[in-house]
Symmetry: C2
Subunit: 226 residues, 2 copies
């Protein structure tokens, strides 16, 4: 594995987009892709692209660009997407089901091997080849499959309670899709996925589009270089 450099959160968040573009170039059989091409595709500045991709240890060659297969490998190494993580989905409602079936995650190492729900009507049913199990079986399932990641899509009201149980079961990371700010002991990881934040931005943009107020400060957007 190449030496990995320091990376900011915004850089890490942009890496899947780069991977998407570079994989498309690979499918077209291109040996190299320029930073400018990647920048145009993703509507970023070329300098931003070069700075971001430097974290992978791959440097573009003048007039050639980045070597496509090496860059794909290096981004996947950086994100640790070549290694698999077994995951359990808590709450097999529509969102949980959507995540269970999302091939994009599966392809990048997140393997949902189990799902838990408390609704007797869904326990025992099958979603994408996974049989929904009752809560009582959670601890045994996590141990048996060496599950590291929990995807939390339970109702907010029971999010902390389920989290506490997951921590007792030795889970390493919780991907939290509830709007409850769950608390975990170190070194357990929480990644908060807040769909309300996206809706807030959409709402403010709509208000501005309709001329009801002033513009956001573009310079303070998190998409600008850190």
């Amino acid at each position: 594995m190449k030496t990995m450099k320091l990376a900011s959160m915004p850089t890490i968040k942009r890496l899947p987009g780069y991977l998407h573009v570079v994989e498309a170039a690979a499918r077209e059989g291109l040996p190299y892709i320029s930073g400018t091409t990647i920048a145009e595709e993703l509507e970023l500045e070329p300098i931003q692209v070069r700075k971001d991709l430097a974290v992978t240890g791959i440097i573009g060659k003048p007039r050639m660009g980045f070597p496509v297969p090496e860059l794909i490998q290096a981004i996947n190494d950086f994100l640790d997407w070549n290694r698999g993580h077994n995951a359990i989905v808590l709450g097999a409602g529509h969102l949980g089901s959507a995540l269970l079936g999302y091939s994009e995650f599966n392809r990048h190492g997140l393997k949902a091997v189990a799902a838990i729900d408390t609704d007797p009507a869904v326990i025992g049913t099958d979603i994408n080849g996974i049989t929904i199990a009752p809560a009582e079986e959670m601890a045994a399932i996590i141990a048996a499959h060496r599950i590291e990641v929990a995807v939390l899509t339970v109702p907010s009201g029971c999010a902390q309670e389920v989290t506490n149980e997951l921590v007792r079961c030795g889970i390493k990371a919780i991907w939290n899709f509830t709007n409850c700010k769950i608390k975990v002991p170190s070194p357990v990881i929480v990644q908060q996925e807040d769909l309300s934040s996206g809706y807030a931005v959409l709402s403010v943009k709509l208000r501005l589009q309709q001329g009801q107020a002033d513009q956001p400060r573009s310079g303070a957007d998190e998409e600008t270089p850190g």
Copy 2:
């Protein structure tokens, strides 16, 4: 409506979290809530909370804090969440179904009034009281319900094609859950929701937790003041 100040994207993204905490205080019947309490609940710095909430025009009183009902009203005004937007969901798979049923959005003005799919097996079926319609009816439905927002959960391969059709139908904003970087003419709004970015951050945190590489630069996280 109060005079609204300039706001950065990170501030806008944090507002739903503030609303969540302040609404909980309202349910407990508290007339005031301090910036420090909000900060502790959301694991932010008190100075950040005060700076963020200043965009709503509400200022906390010394030793009292922020007046709860006024702050709820002001955040909702800022986000334009007191006004309704009719929405159409494109692609009634699991993710589309999850979003159709997400009461959090509904409560904040995003009213899904229609859903479109191309799968004959789901057309005509009902999700959360909405009957899935075929693609041919999209234009008529958007016009009849004065739909402003489209929630895009179609396969990436047809995302741009569906977007072009939505733009022709006069849609004002597209909330894009596909990993395709869709292009729209001004002034149509696109809000990209990238679940892969969250998974990338989770993956890197897991790699670091397991001691395989060095730390991200904390100072460049987008959650710090802009």
